[in-house]
Symmetry: C2
Subunit: 200 residues, 2 copies
């Protein structure tokens, strides 16, 4: 098994890239094999249940990446509003760099499979939970109580996810920027009595 | 041509339903023919350019439906916040009724095709523009100026679109409800000096 182990991650990485660009159904196992330079046998070795199992692993990997980005942004930003603005900027930059072909690494797969595939739905739920928890922690550091933070974390996640879709259609990062700006206003207005000028 | 004309709309309606449930790539022309009861020849007659042209027509149709819903909600709601709450409630109800299989009628297709297919991207842009214009008009009736209304309309659209995706993954309308509640707070807080108790 040892000599094959090295191919598991490249297979997942290629799946993330291809699913994000073309969606799940339009990506064949052969495309993943070709993109990852993995021997075809290793795909069946690691994912004997087939393409849906690769999709679940890809959603998990995409969730890990989003959360790693958010953890880093949270550590470097003073407030949640700054963190969201930085995230929107990053996403817009990545989109532009890819000719607006790379969207959210998991949205398309989730939409194609989530209602019917348990593994994908469960990986998606776990990714949402982790992503929102990072925001809740940051929002509580801003001074929000846990209930407020939970509601705001959900809205912030929805808003950036929706804006990313529109950015892809418009071939323009503006919807992401607007979402971050509007969320900054919301966060600032919701924290009354604090010195939140342009920050919270 | 007259006897065939009657099949165009059923073909588009079936495409909207199937693309929304399964995505573009996973839906074959034969699935559309079967679902619409249209003779196969009529699909080629109306859409000689093939499936991508059906997708563009489906995105246009889906945009028309969303806008018709929004127009009706705008006419019946006192404020934009009430309108968004009603829209979130409708979406959550439709999702539940379909076993969380029916998502946004155009998101999956837009994600699969928009960066590379001009017809689909252009239908998507037109739908976004019309959808946001309805919100801008309603927001200006609330008392927002045009710039504020444009930013808020963009955020509201992103937030509900993102929440709809999460609702599908969670098999639960809660993210939609949270988005509408949080947007109500934002709209209320942004309209200072008005009697906006729980309304704007």
């Amino acid at each position: 098994m040892a000599p094959k182990q090295k191919h598991r991650q490249p297979i997942i990485n290629s799946a993330v890239t291809l699913f994000r660009r073309y969606g799940y159904s339009a990506t064949g196992l052969n495309d993943i094999v070709q993109d990852s330079y993995a021997p075809k046998g290793s795909v069946y070795h690691y994912f004997p249940e087939g393409k849906a199992a690769i999709a679940a692993a890809a959603v998990e990997e995409a969730g890990n990446r989003v959360c790693a980005t958010l953890e880093e942004l949270a550590a470097n930003a003073t407030t949640t509003a700054d963190m969201l603005a930085a995230h929107a900027g990053l996403l817009a930059g990545w989109m532009k760099k890819s000719g607006f072909r790379d969207g959210c690494p998991m949205t398309t797969v989730l939409l194609e499979l989530a209602p019917d595939d348990r593994g994908v739905a469960s990986a998606g739920k776990a990714a949402y939970a982790r992503r929102k928890q990072i925001l809740v922690t940051k929002l509580m550091a801003d001074g929000f109580d846990e209930d407020q933070a939970a509601g705001l974390a959900s809205l912030c996640t929805s808003a950036l996810q929706g804006a990313l879709i529109e950015a892809r259609v418009q071939r323009n990062g503006k919807p992401l920027q607007i979402a971050a700006e509007q969320l900054r206003v919301l966060l600032k207005l919701q924290l009354p009595g604090k010195d939140t000028q342009g920050r919270a």
